[in-house]
């Protein structure tokens, strides 16, 4: 049951348009680096393209997919309309405008710094401002997910939170916390220098801030996939999730591990999470009669 279909589809349309453009750049990058084009390599255009490709694939596309998917999950699993529809549109607008603001200087060759920023290298301030707008737009989504859960919980105090919404809110907490590192780096270190307000950057501190975001960003992208594996996928193959509690236990260490900036902890927690996920789906196919197991998404 999806009520705000236009909102959700707008996110996906924009996401896949950006994805399509980034795909073309990626293919071109492979071509110019291949022996087919060996005699003429223009690094000026190449790094411009790599920056645009990375920004689109790293920040814009996955953020839009996670946001659109999150809104869809909210309406489908809670069986009610999204609270804060106007805020959601404002978030989408911020992401879209931010993407354009970031891409203009990159296209002009004024910010070939790659999406991982690499300070003390500094590009045009509008590139960073655009990325900050994308992140702030996504924070609106981050705020809307727990708000929607709280509103539903108030009206349904005795019902357990649907698994899809549990993972969705967990994912929003993950991104809300994870994005802080890159935001601090951009707002307090890079943008002041790019605008000419300050003259120096502590590159070591910048690395610390970025590593706060660096690894966990991948899991922010993956949470929608996990949700699909746990809720949509079992239904599609005609099986049922054999244990909602196990699924919740599997998702929790992923969130905690990712938020602790420890790479090994993150890898361990997420691999165990994926493993338990496979286990849930595989084993569930043999237990279709269990009356307690019910479809978790609709």
């Amino acid at each position: 049951m999806l009520i705000n279909k236009r909102l959700i589809l707008a996110h996906f349309w924009l996401a896949f348009i950006v994805f399509g453009l980034a795909l073309v750049l990626g293919a071109w990058q492979m071509f110019v680096r291949s022996p087919l084009n060996a005699w003429h390599f223009n690094p000026e255009f190449y790094y411009r393209s790599v920056t645009a490709h990375g920004t689109a694939m790293g920040y814009v596309f996955p953020t839009l997919v996670a946001m659109g998917f999150g809104y869809a999950i909210t309406e489908a699993s809670l069986e009610r309309a999204l609270v804060g529809r106007r805020w959601a549109w404002a978030g989408l607008l911020l992401v879209a405008v931010g993407a354009v603001v970031a891409m203009v200087p990159v296209s002009m060759g004024l910010a070939s710094v790659l999406y991982t920023f690499y300070p003390p290298m500094v590009g045009d301030p509008f590139y960073y401002i655009g990325v900050v707008m994308v992140v702030v737009g996504s924070w609106i989504w981050v705020a809307l997910m727990p708000i929607n859960l709280a509103v539903w919980k108030r009206d349904n105090p005795d019902k357990p939170v649907p698994l899809a919404m549990f993972a969705n809110v967990a994912g929003s907490y993950l991104w809300g916390w994870t994005a802080v590192g890159a935001a601090l780096e951009l707002i307090f270190q890079i943008i002041p220098v790019a605008l000419g307000l300050t003259a120096t950057i502590d590159a070591g501190l910048a690395r610390v801030f970025f590593s706060w975001t660096l690894h966990a960003i991948v899991y922010f992208w993956l949470i929608p996939t996990y949700i699909a594996y746990y809720t949509i996928f079992p239904r599609a193959i005609g099986a049922r999730l054999y244990s909602g509690a196990m699924a919740r236990i599997a998702i929790s260490p992923v969130i905690v591990g990712e938020s602790t900036i420890s790479r090994s902890a993150a890898v361990i927690s997420s691999s165990s999470g994926i493993w338990s996920c496979c286990a849930c789906v595989i084993k569930s196919s043999s237990i279709t009669r269990r009356p307690a197991a019910r479809s978790l998404i609709a």
């Binding site: 690094p43 790094y47 070591g204 509690a245 165990s272 849930c280």
Partner: protein, 187 residues
Amino acid sequence: MTSETDHSLGEAVAARNERRWATLSIVIIGVLVGMAAFIGIHQATMPQGHVETADPKTLHLSGEFIESNLGSAIEADGSVTVRAIGQQYSFTPQCVVVPAETPVNIRATSADVVHGFLIEGTNINTMLVPGYVSALPIRFKAPGEHVMPCQEFCGIGHQGMWGKVKVVDKTAFLNMTAAKRRLSCVD
């Protein structure tokens, strides 16, 4: 037709499976944590244990990274210290010479932006961050040559930033040090 018996049987099967998979998952987590701890302790995958700084603004004027102090030098305890800097878009020295079968301490930093420091075929893979000294210990097993590309994007000329490490026989290296205090491949 489903019956109550079927339901309770299903419950029992589900509970048993839940226990099994939970146990297996915990065992997997235990093994992975153990592996991570083992690798951290027994192989040199430990991050640098302390922070050392070097002001990039005065790097060329004073301190250990002045030009005449770059390259390989033999220490009193028989180990070799290699000092190097990365700058857009080259390493100094461009070719590092080191002896085989000798403890080597690499100390490197950047004079401008972030660079990468990677010696192909070895465990050396770090960043050169301006303002900070990257210090890494290594022991080269046999004479030979290793490429040393910059593997962190450092600007438009990044793809052309390559260095080289030449590992020579220990005696040959000691003969070279007799003539000169700081060594690179060209000496």
